[in-house]
């Protein structure tokens, strides 16, 4: 296992620096607990809008000055709101780290949200929402969230908001969201690439240490390497939604499309669930390994029904959906759905085979070194592990935990999460009749 140096600054910000001598570049990722789950009620889309505005004016710098700095040096900048987190990602050639960290501090600590830019970004977001509402995959995903999570639940609303909710967002809402959610304490800056880690940490400390968005941590310049990972930051609590007590069928008609999207969803695990490693193995067997696991074998390989069919779950601070997905011709929805349900029922009733278990465990555990090969991947994986309080050494421990998963663990996870009698079925596409799906 590689040692990964880190430091926690007086303002509570945690900085990770994983060196990669073979690279000529650096990836930086800043992660905040400021995702769409924390959008104010009725103003869903706030986090997404804040993300799009961060570099459009910060401190004394205009949008043009910030963009000019990045573009002159060929720095790639992106900010995006996900469900739990808001991430800022940068890729740069090695020489530019000091200047980039200076801009990063301004962008995260002092965005100015200029009025004209707010209007412009709102308009862009509304166009993106109009496009999304014609996209069968996105619409089925939203239908799933609506049905799995009750009104008021942080995971219910779509990440970008709706036409109505975005129309209601004012500049003051963005400023307030920034004030409440952009705290140095609990935020993580993860760097990977071509640097001396001690120097990179010192540089980050001198620049980002002055970001003072809620210094409340007692740790004064704690430092170490992976293995003596910093203690987890306190995170927001996301409640469990009630489990559906029956199968809920949702049909979202979108005319003029050539293909329908199916989402068959369940309430999945949280990121910190003890059965997370078993759930990874279960998901691999069901809908990932090789060409989409058992689902791929049955629906794509044997029946030729779909180009894409797979399962995945998105465990966060709260329990995200565990979902099986497929895109099929409108006249084949019924058949694909029957096969998807039957495949899931079989895994719940009859369990998994020793061969499947061995293959999926091996594939998942062995993929760890490759999954961290590039600087952006390494920075993202370490930031993610630290955000959820799993520790910087988590990627390496996870491989061990996966190797320790038993057949019984997987079958228990299947019974716990894949509950065919209480699930949500969403189909988005053309020419659909609900009666045929129930």
């Amino acid at each position: 296992m590689s040692a990964v140096p880190w430091i926690r600054l007086d303002n509570g910000l945690e900085v990770i620096a994983r060196p990669n001598g073979a690279a000529r570049s650096i990836a930086v990722q800043l992660v905040l607990e400021a995702g769409a789950a924390f959008d104010p009620a009725e103003k869903e889309g706030t986090a997404a809008l804040v993300a799009s505005l961060l570099d459009r004016g910060a401190g004394s710098l205009s949008a043009a000055a910030i963009a000019g700095f990045f573009d002159d040096l060929g720095v790639a900048y992106a900010a995006e709101a996900h469900r739990d987190t808001l991430d800022i990602r940068l890729r740069l050639l090695s020489d530019h780290l000091p200047g980039v960290l200076e801009r990063l501090r301004l962008i995260v600590a002092e965005p100015t949200f200029p009025g004209t830019e707010v209007g412009r970004q709102k308009g862009q977001l509304l166009t993106t929402i109009a496009e999304r509402d014609q996209d069968t995959a996105a619409v089925s995903e939203m239908g799933l969230q609506e049905a799995l999570f009750p009104p008021g639940h942080p995971y219910r609303h779509p990440r970008l908001g709706t036409r109505d909710s975005v129309s209601r967002i004012e500049r003051a809402d963005l400023v307030a969201f920034h004030r409440h959610r952009f705290r140095s304490s609990g935020a993580i800056v993860s760097m990977a690439g071509d640097f001396d880690p001690a120097r990179a940490l010192a540089l980050a400390a001198s620049i980002l240490g002055t970001w003072n968005g809620g210094a409340d941590g007692p740790a004064r310049g704690a430092r170490g390497t992976a293995g003596t990972a910093p203690g987890p930051a306190a995170r927001a609590s996301i409640p469990d939604p009630p489990a559906p007590d029956r199968t809920i069928v949702v049909v979202k008609p979108i005319d003029g499309k050539t293909q329908a999207d199916i989402a068959l969803g369940f309430r999945g695990p949280r990121r910190l669930s003890p059965d997370l490693p078993a759930s990874l193995v279960l998901n691999s067997i069901l809908g990932e390994f090789s060409l989409g696991g058992r689902l791929g074998k049955v629906i794509r390989e044997r029946a030729g029904l779909a180009y894409y069919v797979y399962s995945r779950f998105s465990a966060g601070l709260g329990p995200g959906p565990f979902v099986a997905r497929a895109g099929v011709a409108p006249d084949r929805v019924r058949r694909a759905l029957d096969l998807m349900r039957r495949t899931i029922e079989q895994i719940v009733r009859r369990g998994v085979t020793p061969g499947e278990l061995r293959d999926s465990k091996q594939a998942l555990a062995a993929s760890v070194p490759r999954s961290m090969e590039t600087n952006p991947e390494a920075a993202a994986i370490l930031a993610d592990a630290e955000f959820y309080g799993l520790g910087i050494d988590y990627p390496w421990r996870l491989a061990e935990m996966i190797r320790a998963v038993t057949r019984r663990d997987v079958e228990e996870a299947a019974r716990k999460y894949l509950t065919p009698r209480s699930c949500v079925l969403v189909v988005a596409g053309p020419e659909l009749e609900k009666e045929t799906l129930a």
Binding site: Q134, K252, A363, S367, A438
Partner: protein, 448 residues
Amino acid sequence: MTARTRRGDIVVTRLPNGLTVILREMRQAPVVSVWCWYRVGSRDERPGITGISHWVEHMNFKGTRRIHKEDVTRQVELAGGTWNGYTWLDVTAYFETVQSDAFEEMLRLEASRMTECLYSQNEVEHERTVVISELQGGENDPRSYLEKEVTGTALQAHPYRWPTIGYLSDLRAITRDDLYGHYRRYYVPNNGILVATGDFETAAALRLVRRHFGGIRRGEDPPPVRTIEPPQSGERRLTIRRPSGAVYLEFAFHAPAASEQEFAVFLVADGILAGGPTVNLWSGQDGRGPSKTSRLYRSLIEGDLASQVSTLLVPTRHPYLYRVGVTVNEGVDPGRIEETLTAEIGRLAQGDIEERDLTRAKNQFLARHALESESTTDAAHQLGFFETVAVHRLFLDLPRRVRAVTAGEVATLARARLDGDRRTVGVLFPSGPQPAPAAPGGHGVSRP
């Protein structure tokens, strides 16, 4: 005899059977990336068999005489690996990036794929509906629909004009023998390029490559593409109506082949207009839009005319297209977008280019060029991709070519290639029933 050249840490060998082998040691992680390329793509098709190259790619995951269908991908994943394949205008490629101790197994897989895939009638029929499903999924997206229509209008003769996925009627009609014949004609060592990068010792790696590929018999050289697109004289326009959440506009111009000197000038011109294209077709889409200092961002996005603008300049063996795609803001007349694009191109043509514009465009390209070839997978991709569309050295040489570009060359290119008489303009308007309101609570929720 085998020819062999060495440049930096890249070793290029030609086996007696014609297979080009490109090896590059990269010791940053205990992984290797193996890519097997074939010089075959949709350009090698004709109406009646469009989409066949891509379908052949699918069939080549369905087992060989020595490797069971399930093991084709299974053995890659057991080695902690990732795999995929893709088909494009000029190329079909397969890759595996795995733990380095599985290197030889991947060579065995690719050698077997080159020579002995099965093509059972049953598998052909199953894959027919899978490929049709892939086509229908693509047509769900109005933007890709417009792109396909614009391509077919801008190009009237060259086989780049039809979509790589093929036409539905052809996908319904292609037979097992069509597929197998296409496979045997193009999957010969003298039409292939084997690229490996990563954690290996070059001499040992070359011995392994010879062991697995050296015994494969050379085939006939596949026929070259003969058609040259005749010059366009006069604007072409098309209007599409499809269900859509927005109005889309696309401009297409004729672009030079990757090997032409002008290609580097085009990279810089696009850099000034939009921040520069990726030259890594596989992984270059890193989520950034046009750069925010670029002229099209400033005039279209900051001018409140459009919510998105993207450009595409792809390295190809024969001349292809340069595209500018725009998502039009609600209530904006697409005519205003056209005027703005025409004005921005006019500025380039008049030589309204400052030193800073030029430097910025070049720096952005140089950073991308480095970042997009840093991982073992990306490095192998770039070497193989450029070898198929030109020669791998072109990829290494592009930074020098780009640095040498002058403002005068950009202006000359804009006058010659981005002229109104040489463009195709497509607009897609939303049709049919408008999207249902997306209010919370939505429609259609029921509990049977």
